[in-house]
Amino acid sequence: MATLLINLLGLIAIAAIVWWFWIAPRKQRLAAIGADAQMQVLVKDGVYSPDRIRVPANEKTVLHFLREDPSPCAEWVLFPDLEVSAQLGVDQLTEIVVHPKQAGEYPFHCQMQMYRGTLIVE
């Protein structure tokens, strides 16, 4: 009985991992940002919040990153496809101007890719 229970728990854990980390995020709702609204992204505890940001294509958008995590992981935020990056000061607002030309999804992350987010350009 115990054997069955533990095996079942193990399988449920695997299914839960797959669902929570890989399937569910795709259904997630997106944070939206208008062309002239200014958005603040909090960098804390290993996550950007919000971590999905909608911006218009072919327009300059200013993102404000507020870093509260002093660990070196959080020091840089990189938008590799846009070739934009910034060094974030602890407890400081850092302005980052993005100007994506084409619609699509552009990931942004820290150097180690532990902090991750997506810029959705429409």
């Binding site: 980390f21 996550v47 070196p72 590799p80 496809d81 846009l82 934009v84 990056s85 060094q87």
Partner: protein, 771 residues
């Protein structure tokens, strides 16, 4: 090109806004009062107070001091926030130092608990819970461990929870799950030993504490090692001065660099750094630009010359007008470019990127599967084995090493490039520069100085007198060769005479009257047309042509007076650089608009076998395309005059030296120094960086692909032992330190030099120039 545009945009935004920290602000009423007070200040377009972080952001061109006065008049305090990169970096460093000490403390406390517990376990072997006394004793140890876990590793648990809520999993998740499982299992043993078989009643508090301690220690070492990877940018930032001496109302005034405006007159004394970009108004001095260009010889600057922020004034006092300040200076843009490149993506890392995106959940699944395998098919004690395997797999897996492998090497490599005057646009350029097999080099301005000089003058009578007449005549011509003759005369110095009846005869030469004599200067066709015999000097003229010089006949009153030659001198280090590039396995081809004879002569002196002469500007791009179609990886080096399209088209475009802005825009790699050696430096550096990246990636892949199965117990049948979670923790903590340390090895990179040959050639070309 994305960088420059987006980067520049970011800079402009920053330059137009000022941020102040406010004091004494507590309510919405204060906000309105301050904003109202600022409305009256000239130059304020918009003032916005953020009550949450007590800051004030002012848009517009208002003076900092005026804004502070306005806020103070409203009854509050304001102090400007120094947002310059240098200050930010200093704050960052202090923060890093604090964080480093924090991590060390946490490590010391956690290890202070973990090590005695581990020693106790090893010496006495009594880690089991079999009676009430042991239950009480281990229960207390468990509570102390919990306190240590929360105090020293609290950030792992909050981080893991935050990430979990956002459907993401990080290294924190692995650490939190691994140590959490070990602690929970041990607590279960303490509280309800009866539910477990006797052989499995073993506590693992020491493992939780040790793992947290070791990972904190690893992170502390990593913070240290990482600090050094940014050393190059640090050096550039240190070039920025913090204050400038401005001339205001006749008095010299020291003001913070942030307050210098375009048009301000600045004074720089001997031994001082130049604070902003500008143009000399008065005075002359030698300026050391080596920190930006790598060019060791100081440059002479006098009225009208450009000065670059960050360079060092050597011996004279200069007065100059600020042309570019703040984020617009060349130095600031170099720093921005280096920073952007340091964080850009390298194509080789794509696989690592894909893996790190799914890494943590995948490891969690592997851990569960391994645990189930041990539970169902492993030997007794099954539950204990299951727990050890689960914890070890979670702890040993290191997404950081994988994630850090590329960025750390790129960071050091690009920074090292900047130190050597090589500015790499992005990681892609860095990678492509490693496998170039052909390099097309534009002759003018790259292999040669780009400014023709008078090299030879042979005459029947007084050479000086002939030069004076020819220079007078040529001062009316707009031909580039004419300028060389006029400059040579002015340097002697000879004063020019008035010219009458000047006539420029296309594709032949010039004609005119100077001091009552008729002067002709041009090629053999001109002499033929005017009926002047050239037999006497023809041979000399041919010799000069074969040396790559443009020879011209000079006639006075219908009689041949001599031959004069003008050439664009070969850069003194070009031959050595070509030699180095050949040794790097590159096929060098020369491109030029010049005639084939001159081009071949230059190519021969430099040891270049392939020459494309008499090209029109658009032909250069066509040659790049043609070679690419043949499967070659083509690099193109030029100064951007006429070759910007070819630079952009090539796999890697190298903009040489003082090149034009267009060239720097279209190039993948910008060389601050006007030397082809920069291309060789860039190729060597990119190869060294790629090698380093490959070592790091290989190490990180091997570490994880070996570590995870070992932690899962594949060696158990051979060794009869499972990997201790503590050893897994140590391995994990030090794997990322290893990656960062290996990347730091790149800091030792030094470009090779062919020193002897360079000196020898320098002497030759100086001799040529003076003849």
């Amino acid at each position: 090109m994305g960088i420059t545009k987006d980067g520049a945009a970011a800079n402009k935004t920053a330059a137009a806004s000022q941020t102040f920290q406010l004091h004494g602000v507590s309510c919405a009423g204060c906000v309105r009062k301050i904003e109202k007070a600022l409305e009256g200040v000239t130059g304020v377009d918009e003032a916005r107070v953020n009550l949450a972080d007590k800051t004030l952001v002012i848009q517009g061109s208002a003076e900092t001091a005026a804004c502070v006065r306005a806020v103070e008049s409203a009854g509050y305090g304001a102090e400007p926030v120094q947002a310059s990169a240098r200050v930010l970096r200093e704050q960052q460093r202090e923060e890093e130092q604090r964080h480093y000490h924090h991590l060390l403390w946490r490590a010391a406390i956690a290890l202070g608990l973990g090590i005695p517990l581990m020693v106790w376990g090893l010496v006495t072997g009594e880690m089991g819970v079999n009676n009430t006394f042991q239950q009480l004793a281990w229960g207390s140890v468990g509570l102390v461990t919990l306190a240590v876990l929360v105090f020293c590793g609290g950030h792992f648990y909050t981080g893991a929870w935050q990430a979990f809520r956002h459907h993401s999993a990080t290294m924190d998740t692995l650490v939190a799950l691994g140590t959490g499982t070990a602690w929970l299992f041990s607590m279960l043993v303490v509280l309800l030993p009866q539910v477990l078989p006797e052989s499995a009643r073993h506590v693992y508090f020491e493992a939780s504490a040790m793992i947290i301690g070791l990972i904190n220690l690893g992170q502390a070492l990593e913070v240290r090692a990482r600090g050094r990877t940014g050393a190059a940018v640090e050096k550039l930032l240190q070039l920025q001065d913090s204050s400038a001496r401005v001339l205001r109302d006749g008095a010299e005034l020291d003001i913070p660099i942030e307050q210098v405006r375009v048009g301000d007159k600045l004074r720089v004394r001997p031994g001082e750094k130049i604070s902003v970009d500008g143009r000399v108004v008065d005075g002359s001095s030698l300026v050391d630009e080596s920190m930006l260009t790598g060019e060791p010889v100081p440059v002479k600057k006098s009225a009208g010359d450009l000065l670059t922020a960050g360079t060092l004034n050597k011996n004279g006092s200069l007065l100059f007008a600020a042309e570019k300040v703040g984020a617009d200076t060349r130095l600031a843009q170099i720093i921005q470019m280096v920073k952007n490149a340091q964080s850009s993506r390298v194509p080789i890392a794509r696989l690592a990127d894909t893996i790190s995106a799914i890494f943590v959940p995948a490891v969690m699944i592997i851990a569960v599967v391994a645990a189930l395998v041990w539970f169902n098919w492993g030997p007794d004690p099954k539950v204990a084995h299951m727990l050890v395997v689960l914890t070890s797999v979670l702890i040993i897996a290191c997404p950081c090493a994988l994630g850090l492998a590329t960025p750390m090497s790129v960071m050091v490599g690009v920074g090292k490039g900047a130190e050597n005057g090589v500015l790499v646009r992005n990681g892609k350029a860095l990678q492509q520069a490693t496998d170039l097999n052909a390099l097309l080099v534009d002759k003018t301005g790259t292999l040669t100085e780009g400014a023709p000089r008078l090299t030879d003058i042979e005459s029947r009578g007084n050479a000086g007198a002939l030069l004076q007449k020819l220079a007078s005549l040529e001062s009316h011509s707009e031909h580039p060769l004419a300028e060389a003759i006029v400059t040579a005369a002015k340097q002697k110095p000879l004063s020019l005479s008035p010219v009458t009846d000047f006539e420029a005869i296309t594709a032949h030469g010039v004609k005119g009257n100077v001091d009552g004599t008729t002067i002709l200067l041009g090629n053999s066709k001109l002499m033929q047309r005017e009926g002047v015999a050239i037999d006497e000097w023809q041979q000399k003229s041919e010799v000069l042509s074969r040396q790559g010089k443009t020879a011209m006949y000079a006639a006075v009153d219908g009689e041949l007076a001599g031959v004069i030659a003008v050439a664009d001198p070969i850069r003194e280090d070009a031959a050595a650089a070509v030699q180095r590039l050949k040794q790097l396995g590159l096929r060098i081809e020369m491109l030029t608009g010049d005639n084939a004879a001159t081009a071949n002569a230059v190519a021969k002196q430099l040891g270049i076998e392939h020459v494309h002469a008499e090209l029109l500007p658009e032909d250069k791009e066509k040659i790049v395309v043609a070679q690419q179609k043949e499967g070659a990886k083509v690099g193109m080096a030029g100064d951007g005059i006429n070759d910007a399209p070819a630079l952009a088209r090539a796999d890697v475009g190298f903009a040489i030296g003082a090149g034009t802005d267009v060239a720097i825009e279209s190039a993948d790699i910008t060389l601050m120094r006007s030397s082809l050696h920069g291309v060789a430096d860039a190729v060597e550096l990119s190869r060294a960086t790629l090698r380093n990246i490959k070592q790091n990636l290989f190490g990180a892949f091997i570490y994880n692909t070996l570590g995870i199965p070992i932690a899962a117990g594949v060696l158990y049948p051979i060794t009869g032992m499972l990997l201790s979670p503590v050893i897994a923790g140590a391995a994990m903590a030090f794997s990322s330190v290893t990656v960062v340390t290996n990347a730091n090895r790149l800091r030792l990179f030094k470009p090779t030099r062919v020193a002897a040959k360079q000196v020898e050639h320098t002497n030759n070309s100086i001799g040529e120039g003076d003849s």
